[in-house]
Every structure is written in structure tokens, then in C-alpha cells.
Symmetry: C2
Subunit: 305 residues, 2 copies
DNA sequence: ACCTATCGATATTTGATAGATATGCCTCGT
DNA sequence: ACGAGGCATATCTATCAAATATCGATAGGT
């Protein structure tokens, strides 16, 4: 059996008339009669009762008609699905991000834009640590990740800097340096005697190294206090008065009681990058759409905090 | 597109290898390659990535594979449905019966047997008055009906007597005739002075006429009291002491408080028939199965009450 | 690094079969 | 009774699926 038989059968059933159906199908009556008979022979079921004026569905024919229609519909749907999947309009994209990434407005903005442009793509979001994200990319558990800094084991991954943002110092509310006018930039060297609460990623260098290096550049070697497993937890420690921290500017959105942010000056190298990591080649079209969308406006949006 | 393309596609997807798939399909590799390409061309979607050793589904191909499989399954189901419907193993049968019919064990027995033999046929049961049932047969609302007596407007319907059963007299519990030993038959003439509560069917002769005729044959003209719209309601009136009634023997199963049944003698013609009515020709196979099943064992079961 | 086996693509031929043409036969309506 | 309408049958044609032969690319062995 072929779909042709179903198409013919449906038309004949709808017309109740082989000759008219043949006309509608753009063919002659005899071959249509033959194909219908061939279908009946294969089914070993009489689908039509031949009447002197036209044909009429048998009960078996009626039952078959329903099914035949739904089969053709499903064929159409299968076509549409394949095409949409090929075009990246349908499918699944798993996006990972570190805890600090979504605070930069770029990330939620681009995710929202993607959902609007490709509503049929199911977008799975996963927050996790940078090393887990990199691992996830290798395992093909995730397709793309927003991370904060170049990672060690990114060999075999594509890493694209999206934007850089300034870093702020986060001070406990009662701190001496927090009393000054907030919007005046603080020289990094002013923090020489502070205890630093830093986010230390287990596997490889992150913002940690960036900060240490910047401090050295400002002429002091920072005293590092407690380390926290996630950026947000460092702020909890700052709020508790255990020290100061240096965090990406977008974290300012996270208004925590007991934490005051101040801009830093004289440390041009103290920037927090936002990086997109993905697997090279072999990405599904939907993933490719996502990557394109993320990178295209990245330049224009750039660092508008 | 034809089902052939789907069959080929699925096999290639499963083998990941065109040459092996061709082998499994009992054909050569080049035509299979061509058909796959033709499918891709029609879809305008690449379904396979050609690798040096075999082929590999693309994401679109994976999405399409699922659908393709379910389409072929649905085709199989459509075939099975058509065949079963043709054989009468699937479909719908609407059976009507008058209120008194199901009390004869033959009716529930045959219905149960049908359900067991043809579990895929949805059997709809409808209790209704004889004239409504006849009307329903004409309107094609019902396919077969168990009725009690030859009906007037059965023209155009097939009417098949299934069995005959004796009739009993139903007496009020306190009645003089009810005091005698119950299992001794009562001559019909003994009821000469009783008031008869009879079921009077609006459209045509029924048991009503049978009873009147039998009484005349026994030498008296019955005094007819209240008439009830359904046989069972006559028994309510009997229980209330408003008179006696004559009902099919199977109604004995309906043990009502205040009603006593006695056999009748000397009235061979006083029989209650059970009749199967249906439309001539043009019945669905499932209905035909039902009619066959009802009539085949009807002779053997006959009148075992 | 080269050579060879593997496997898909391409080119050409063959064959099956869907479809066209011509005609027959049955039924209904006039 | 006759003609028109409509499906079936018979025969022919053309298309397209499949077979055969060959090419080309790649991976893996030596």
C-alpha cells in the first residue's frame, strides 16, 4: 500500500463517484478504479458498494476513511515537524549559566527574545557552576552556557566573549569606605588592608585570578579570607561583615541588606567578562539559532550594564 | 511522498547504513540512496549526514523518524480496523427491547454471548416500547429489536419468531384463586369473572389481542379494567388488587410483593412469542453477526422458560 | 604517506506498473 | 425500448523505481 491509495480512496469516498473523483485528481477513471480495487484486494475488504450511479462507502470503508484522513494529516505534520526542526524553529536547546550571569540584563533579554522568535523550541535553562557547565557541554547535556571567565578545560569547546562589565567592590554596610558618597569611584589601592571574600571555582582560574592580578597591579597583595562556592554567597559573607568582595557590576541589581557597592577606579584590567561557551560544529539548527541570536546583538548591546 | 519512502527511511535510520538497509529491504543500494535523496528533496530537509562509514540521522531526521514510525503503525491499525469492521468484529450494534423481553433468560444470555465473541463491537442497548422500537428500526436508529408480538407496521422489516413461552395469570396475593396450591394449573375459564389489567400497546395488536382471543375461546368475554403502558406496571396494579393479569411466564422472575403467579391450562393458544425484528439487507457485518448469533441458538434454547 | 577496503553518489539501462485510450456492460430514467 | 451515465475490462504507453556498472571520498592498516 502507498499513500497514493489513501489519497485516491479519500477522494472517491468524498465524491461518491469514481469518474468525478478522477477528474478532481487530474486523472482518468479507469486507473482510479484499478487503484481502488487494488487497495480493496490488498485489504481483502470491500470499501465501496458499486451502485448504478456512483459508489457508496461500506461500513468498513467508513471506518477506514477516518483512519486514512488522520494518516494523511499526520504525514503533513511529520513534514512540518521535519522542516521546522531543520530550520531550527522546533527542537530543544539546553542553556546553562553560572549564578552571576542572569544578573546582567543581557542574559534574560536574549533568552526572552529567543523564546519569542522560536516559540516551538523548548528552551531548558540550567543554573550550575562553571566547571559543571563545561562538563555538561562536553557530555552534550547542555548546548550552550553563559560563563564568567575563560576556563581551563575548554579545549574542544568554542568560547566567545560577549561583553565585559566593570567590577564593583561590595562593602559591608557599616564599613568606613561605605560611608563616602557612593557614586564616587574608589581606587583599588584603598582596599589594600581589607580582607577579600572571593568566589573560588574548584576547577581552574576564574574571576579569582583576575582580582588577585588587579590587586597586585595596584601595588598590594590582597589578604584573602573565606572563600565561597558561589558568587552570591560571597555577598552574604560581606553582609555579615567578614570582609569585602569584588563582583561584576550587574550584581548591583541584587540589593542585599547590609551590602553597599562602590565603583572602582584605576584598574582598567579589572573587568568581568560574560562568555558564551558551546560545542564546535554538529549543533542542531535550533542551537545554532540560539548561538546566532546571542552573538548578533551582543556587539550592539555590549556593555550597557 | 509515498509510504515506500517512509519504510525505506526507517530502515536506513535503523541500520545507519544504506547498503545494509538495502540488503534488509531486499534491494540494491543505489535505488535506496536515490529514494532517500528524493525524500530529502521533497522535504527540502537533510535527514541524514553522510559519513565515510555509513549515515547518521540529523536532528530533523530524528524528529521525522518518530513521526514516520507512528504513521506506519497507524496504517497497520487502519488496515486492522477495516478488516475487523468487514468481518463484523468491530463496529456498533444498537439493540432495542421491550420491557418484558429481558426477563426471558434467552435475551441476556445471547447478549452476553455476543459481547464475549465480539468484544470490539460496541453494543448499545435500548429499552423502549414496541412501536418506538419499530420506528427506530425504520429510522436506522436501532439495528435489531426484541419484541413480544407481531406488530402492525412491520412492513419493510424482517420479523423472526425466536421462541414462545407460556403465559401465567398474575393474581393479587390475597385473591381466592391465589390460595390454592400454586403449581396446579388454573383453567382460563376460572378467570371469567375477574377484571383484567392489560398492557395495551398504542400502535397495533399485541399480547392484548392474544389474551382477549384466548378468553373468548374459553367461553367468556373478559372484563377489561385499567390499562397500563408497560407490562411491568400492570403487575403493580395487580399487586394493588385492582384485578388480574396474564403475562409471559418469564415475568415470574419478577418477584413482586403482593403478586402471585399461577399456570394456566386449557389454552394452548395462549402463548407469548419472543420476536426478533430487523431491517432487511444492508446491515453492517457486526449487525449481521448479532442477528446470526441470536437466530442460531434460538432453536436449541427454544422455550426453556 | 600510500594503498586498499568500505560505502555512498552518479550514470545508464531495464522492468514493473501507474496511467491513458478504447470499449464493454449494466442500470436507471425517460 | 433506448440512450445516457458510470464502473469494469482490455490493451497500450510512459514513467519511474530498481538493477548494473562505475566513480569518488574517506578511514584505517601497513
Amino acid at each position: 500500500m502507498e499513500l497514493r491509495h489513501l489519497r485516491y480512496f479519500i477522494t472517491v469516498a468524498e465524491e461518491g463517484h469514481i469518474t468525478r473523483a478522477a477528474e478532481r485528481l487530474g486523472m482518468q477513471q479507469p486507473p482510479l478504479s484499478q487503484q481502488i480495487r487494488a487497495l480493496e484486494r490488498e485489504l481483502d475488504v470491500q470499501l465501496f458498494r458499486r451502485k448504478p450511479r456512483g459508489v457508496e462507502l461500506t461500513d468498513a470503508g467508513t471506518a477506514f476513511l477516518e483512519r486514512a484522513r488522520s494518516i494523511l494529516e499526520e504525514v503533513d505534520r511529520a513534514f512540518a515537524t521535519a522542516r521546522r526542526t531543520a530550520r531550527g524553529e522546533q527542537g530543544r536547546v539546553v542553556v546553562g549559566f553560572t549564578g552571576s550571569a542572569p544578573f546582567h540584563p543581557f542574559v534574560p533579554r536574549v533568552i526572552r527574545a529567543f523564546r519569542e522568535m522560536y516559540p516551538l523550541v523548548s528552551l531548558v535553562l540550567e543554573e550550575s557552576g562553571s566547571s559543571e557547565l563545561v562538563q555538561g557541554l562536553h557530555n552534550e547535556d547542555i548546548d550552550a552556557a553563559f560563563i564568567r571567565s575563560p576556563v581551563a578545560d575548554v579545549v574542544g569547546l568554542v568560547v566567545k566573549p560577549l561583553l565585559e562589565e566593570d567590577m564593583l567592590v561590595a562593602l559591608p554596610a557599616g564599613h568606613a569606605l561605605a560611608r563616602e558618597t557612593e557614586d564616587r569611584a574608589l581606587p583599588l589601592s584603598a582596599l589594600a588592608n581589607e580582607i577579600f571574600i572571593l568566589y573560588k571555582r574548584p576547577g581552574g582560574p576564574g574571576l579569582y585570578d583576575t582580582i588577585i592580578t588587579a590587586c597586585r597591579g595596584a601595588g598590594f597583595s590582597p589578604r584573602v579570607g573565606q572563600e565561597a562556592p558561589r558568587i552570591i554567597s560571597t555577598l552574604n559573607l560581606v553582609a555579615a561583615g567578614l570582609g569585602v568582595s569584588v563582583v561584576p557590576a550587574s550584581l548591583r541589581r541584587l540589593q542585599m541588606d547590609g551590602v553597599v557597592y562602590r565603583r572602582l577606579s584605576g584598574s582598567a584590567e579589572l573587568k568581568a567578562p560574560l562568555i558564551l561557551a558551546c560545542r564546535p560544529g554538529e549543533n542542531s539548527a535550533a542551537v545554532q539559532r540560539f548561538l546566532d541570536l546571542v552573538q548578533r546583538p551582543a556587539e550592539s548591546v555590549a556593555s550597557d550594564n
